[in-house]
């Protein structure tokens, strides 16, 4: 990572606007993928703002056509190869710590999701109090296609979507537009991108951190978008019936049962997507979302960290490296998953991903203690 200190510093732009701080993710060529430096910088800024009585509100946005496309996988793989799994895990540890800080933040965070928001980008926005979608928003958690699993606290926020929509989004990596994000609750508001500058100016002018007031200001610029006729959100009945099943195998056969008597392109495509994804990823992802449904955001992140350590250590499968090769490096889009079939990923194999890492240097994620702040009630409810 040979970039100079000054250019590193430019990766997160900071604007001070009376009681608001506007942070802009500024790596547009990489679609604002989060470098380790950016994560550290955001952590540093968020921690400082929490103590600073002159900050009442944090606005987060991205430069260019993406809000943020996630973690810097290339850098993780590089560190993994040169410094061992621990070096790779360091990215995730920092990232998850930031996710936790945002989830339990005592001041409102407004994320302006005017573009692509994927993987780690969701970790940097979904945990905050306000998520503003636009007609340019494009959401996805595509991890199962690259041998990972929806992390960055996704087992918390996906599992809390209506019905079994979270399982659907997490397993298939389905892409959602702004209207869908609002409908399912991933976004709290929908504001047309043309109005974003006005919204931002209005938010920068307020002197209060009261979520009610902020919500009503965003509300002034908000619109109620209509779902496209083809929207997956209109298929919630099928999603609930199929993605509520106990196992990935049963989800697949439930989907297949749906198309026995009638053709349905969307269901067939969904089946194909699941069949292309890493079997190990699918199984650990389903378990993670299911377990996450009954855990607070902290325990979700601690569990996800255990899981990601196992993934990086490659003890049971190397699907992460294979996924990186096939999707991001060689781009042949033909990963050779191992184990190659769902039935080969037994429950005991899945169990191992959730166990404590048995290694002297393996330890659980230590989350910052948040009790010293008087947390707002919407945060308390997440614990």
């Amino acid at each position: 990572m040979a970039s100079s200190v000054s250019s590193q510093h430019d990766q997160v732009l900071v604007e001070v606007k009376s009681f608001a701080r506007v942070l802009t993710l500024n790596r547009p060529k990489q679609l604002n993928a989060l470098s380790l430096h950016m994560i550290s910088r955001l952590l540093e800024l968020f921690l400082a703002y929490e103590e600073d009585p002159n900050v009442k509100l944090v606005i987060l946005k991205g430069k260019g056509r993406a809000f943020c496309t996630g973690g810097d996988v290339a850098a993780v793989v590089h560190d993994l190869r040169t410094g061992g799994w621990r070096a790779g895990a360091n990215h995730f540890m920092k990232g998850y710590t930031l996710n936790y800080l945002m989830a339990t933040y005592s001041k409102p965070q407004v994320s302006l999701l005017n573009g692509i928001v994927m993987g780690g980008g969701n970790g940097a926005s979904m945990h905050g109090r306000f998520r503003v979608a636009t007609e340019n928003s494009l959401f996805a958690m595509p991890e199962t296609a690259v041998g990972l699993f929806p992390d960055v606290g996704a087992s918390y926020f996906l599992s809390r979507l209506p019905g079994f929509f979270g399982e659907y989004v997490g397993l298939t990596g389905a892409r959602l537009d702004g209207a869908e994000m609002l409908a399912c609750g991933l976004a709290t508001h929908f504001v047309p991108s043309a109005k974003l500058p006005m919204l931002e100016a209005a938010l920068c002018a307020i002197d209060s951190g009261d979520p009610e007031i902020i919500s009503s200001i965003i509300g002034r610029y908000s619109e109620q978008p209509s779902l496209k006729e083809q929207s997956v959100y209109n298929r919630l009945d099928v999603i609930d019936r199929c993605f509520s099943q106990k196992t990935v195998e049963e989800i697949l056969s439930a989907l297949e049962r749906e198309v026995v008597d009638r053709r349905d392109r969307w269901i067939s495509a969904t089946i194909q997507t699941l069949k292309r994804a890493s079997p190990t990823s699918l199984k650990i992802s389903l378990r993670s979302i299911r377990v996450g449904r009954f855990q607070g955001v902290g325990p979700c992140l601690v569990r996800e960290y255990r899981m990601v350590c196992h993934v990086l250590r490659g003890e049971f499968s190397n699907d992460f490296l294979e996924g990186y090769r096939a999707i991001l490096l060689d781009k042949d889009k033909n990963p050779k998953w191992e184990p190659s079939k769902l039935e080969l990923v037994t429950d005991t194999k899945v169990d191992r991903y959730f166990s404590k890492v048995n290694n002297e240097d393996g330890e659980d994620l230590k989350l910052p203690v948040r009790s010293k702040f008087k947390l707002p009630s919407y945060v308390v409810a997440k614990l």
Binding site: K107, G163, D240, E250, R293, V380, A381, K382
Partner: protein, 669 residues
């Protein structure tokens, strides 16, 4: 002066509530702090949950998830968290329809797959787990499923033969048939042998004719009968050629596929109840209803085409006992589910006691947390220990049942009767204490604890009245004693082997370490059981020698019978605790369980019988009491971890278990 200032500050905050104080400024108003922030876990709560749930943890969570994610389960947001709970403010009819819709939803998602069509220990344990989870959501849901699968389905399975199984089980599992179980009558409940419904056989047509000859013969409390059931199994006297062959079971269709009541069947509602209003309990009259000969569930007895009575079991008593088989599994199921209600109530009231304060000890000091009062600890913590003990006993009972053999039937009957009575009584006691421990909040239906009392009260009557079951336990112990004496053989089974050993002696001085040794505690529980059994035998024999019949002698010795039943139960439960503890490696989990185990037994030793019959001196009694207080304060730091280990998801607890200030704020009105 400071105090006055504090009051003024509070009043000012109240008056100026339109400009809320910034989150970081100090505030004299009370605020909610989640117990997780102040309490820590000294042991692995997930491991503990696995241990006390005992089986199918993932299956349980999957079912919890199915309910949590569906609108049918009435999710409501309170204080930033979502809770699922039936709307008990709906009309009886609405509640019944909702119960049915929930069953349909779970059915569609495969929650009952294999419940009747698969065999073996694995599926039976899965079924028990499913029932326990459903009971945590709503007792009506549990009961309606229980009637359909365990009573109706169980009757077909245990009392029917191959062609019944082939004809009815699959349809029952997928609910194309909705079954109910017509045993109880207005005039006869626990005394099933006294039912007045009469069935005769018409050899001209090859049909049975089922009749309700009088009003007291009307079938009563038949769950599912009032609205939904299409079929029922009727328990009736069978008269063949003028001879009463005793109680037999018949399949009768009571509604057609469109839900119309069949000819010669009359059905009425049982009306609104103190709980379980999501179950459509009904009353049924049969006006010479004709059913084909094959509808007799004929595993123990049959009637030939030309009207001859044939039975593989000669003894009518044994024949009758065979007909009660579906009730045994029901009893196991009820006993196990009741423990989970105690878990719900304790999790809620302990979490509340860790966040609600009352009274300051000194001026200007913050008020004291409810659970920091020794008296509050003394109220709730022993109940936690009891609930752990019952959990292990429930797991033992389930294993005993699924590993059943023809030889173990008697033991299962005795243990399930004793545990069902003990668990359900204890559950009601726990619910009441927890309700009071939550104060006024315990009275709100949304907070569950108080409402559960009405819902679960019926468990002491279901599948056998508790008092009668306990009498049966004492009678069975009496029979064991007589058999051992007659054959001059050692006691074997039911955990009575201790009777073969010399009588344990209670030390005159009870030190703390003695009071916590499992050997001493077991000795103390065995001593009482042994002595009460001896006394019971002596008293019954004395009555008999004075000319009373055996039955009359039992009736007259009812007080000893009750004490003995409890002594057996307490000792048997304790034994399962010791066994569970023994399977663990030495670690923090084992340590905490050891403490809970001691507390459980010491609570049993506090029972009046220990001083009444002189097993403990007055001084010893005082030592027991002192030790209980000590253990309660030792367990106080673990209270949150202990109830978290119950594994009840947040959504199945209630608003007072979490941010009850936010849940009750003006903005949430």
């Amino acid at each position: 002066m400071d105090r006055a200032f504090q009051r003024t500050q509070i009043l000012t905050d109240h008056l100026l509530q339109f400009s809320p104080p910034s989150p970081l400024s100090s505030n004299a108003c009370l605020s909610y702090s989640p117990p997780e922030l102040s309490e820590s876990y000294a042991f692995d709560v997930k491991e503990m949950r696995k241990l006390i749930d005992g089986h199918n943890v993932e299956e349980r969570d999957w079912l919890f998830g199915l309910m949590r994610q569906s609108k049918l389960f009435n999710p409501e947001e309170k204080g930033g968290k979502v809770f699922v709970l039936p709307d008990y403010n709906q009309s009886t009819e609405q509640q019944r329809e909702m119960t049915w819709k929930r069953i349909e939803y779970l059915l569609e998602r495969g929650a009952f797959k294999g419940w009747l069509t698969e065999e073996g220990e694995e599926i039976e344990m899965r079924k028990f787990a499913g029932f326990e989870v459903s009971s945590i959501y709503d007792h009506s849901l549990f009961t309606k499923l229980g009637v359909h699968f365990f009573l109706w389905g169980g009757a077909i399975k245990f009392l029917g033969t191959k062609h019944h199984h082939e004809k009815w089980l699959r349809g029952t599992e997928n609910y194309s048939i909705k079954g109910c179980f017509a045993m109880t009558e207005l005039g006869h409940g626990s005394n099933v042998r006294g039912v007045e419904t009469v069935t005769t056989y018409d050899s001209n047509t090859g049909e049975f004719v089922i009749n309700t000859p009088c009003e007291t013969a009307q079938k009563y409390w038949i769950g599912g009968a009032a609205n939904h059931a299409t079929h029922t199994v009727v328990f009736s006297q069978l008269h063949i050629n003028g001879t009463n062959q005793g109680v037999h079971a018949f399949i009768v269709q009571i509604r057609d596929a469109d839900g119309n009541i069949c000819p010669n069947v009359r059905i009425a509602d049982c009306g609104h109840k103190i709980g379980l209003n999501g179950v459509d309990n009904g009353r049924i009259w049969f006006d010479n209803v004709r059913v084909p000969r094959e509808n007799l569930l004929n595993s123990v007895a049959d009637v030939s085409l030309d009207g001859k009575y044939l039975s593989s079991i000669e003894n009518p008593d044994q024949r009758f006992a065979a007909f009660m088989a579906p009730l045994t599994v029901g009893r196991v199921n009820i006993a196990c589910a009741s423990v989970y209600q105690s878990k719900v109530a304790l999790a809620i009231s302990v979490r509340y006691a860790l966040t609600r304060r009352a009274f300051s000890l000194k001026p200007n000091e913050p008020e004291v947390l409810l659970l920091d009062y020794p008296s509050h600890q003394r109220r709730l913590i022993p109940l936690i220990a009891k609930t752990y003990a019952m959990s292990f006993a429930a797991n033992y009972l389930k294993m005993l049942y699924v590993k059943r053999t023809p030889q173990s039937n008697k033991i299962i009957h005795i243990v399930s009767s004793s545990f069902k009575a003990t668990f359900t009584w204890t559950n009601m006691q726990i619910l009441q204490e927890c309700r009071e421990a939550c104060g006024g909040q315990g009275l709100k239906t949304e907070n569950r604890v108080g409402h559960l009392k009405g819902e679960y009260d019926v468990q002491s009557t279901f599948e056998g009245d508790n008092n009668i079951l306990m009498q049966q336990v004492s009678k069975a112990l009496f029979a064991e004693y007589m058999a051992a004496q007659k054959r001059n053989k050692a006691f074997k089974g039911l955990g009575l082997e201790h009777m073969n050993k010399p009588c344990p002696i209670i030390p005159s001085q009870l030190t703390s370490s003695t009071l916590r040794s499992s050997q001493f505690l077991m000795d103390a529980l065995c001593l009482r059981e042994r002595d009460l059994l001896n006394r019971f035998v002596v008293d019954v024999s004395k009555c008999k020698s004075e000319g009373e019949s055996t039955q009359q002698a039992f009736l007259m010795c009812y007080q000893l019978a009750e004490d003995l039943g409890r002594a057996f139960s307490d000792r048997a439960i304790f034994q399962t605790f010791i066994e569970a503890e023994a399977t663990l490696p030495a670690d923090s989990l084992k340590d905490i369980l050891g403490t809970l185990r001691s507390l459980y037994a010491l609570i049993c030793l506090e029972d009046a019988s220990y001083v009444q019959y002189g097993y403990l001196s007055v001084e010893n009694g005082a030592s027991v009491r002192r030790e209980i207080t000590k253990i309660c304060s030792e367990l106080r730091p673990h209270a949150l971890a202990l109830v978290t280990s119950f594994g009840i998801p947040d959504a199945f607890l209630s608003p007072i278990a979490f941010n009850w200030i936010e849940a009750n704020s003006w903005s949430s009105v």
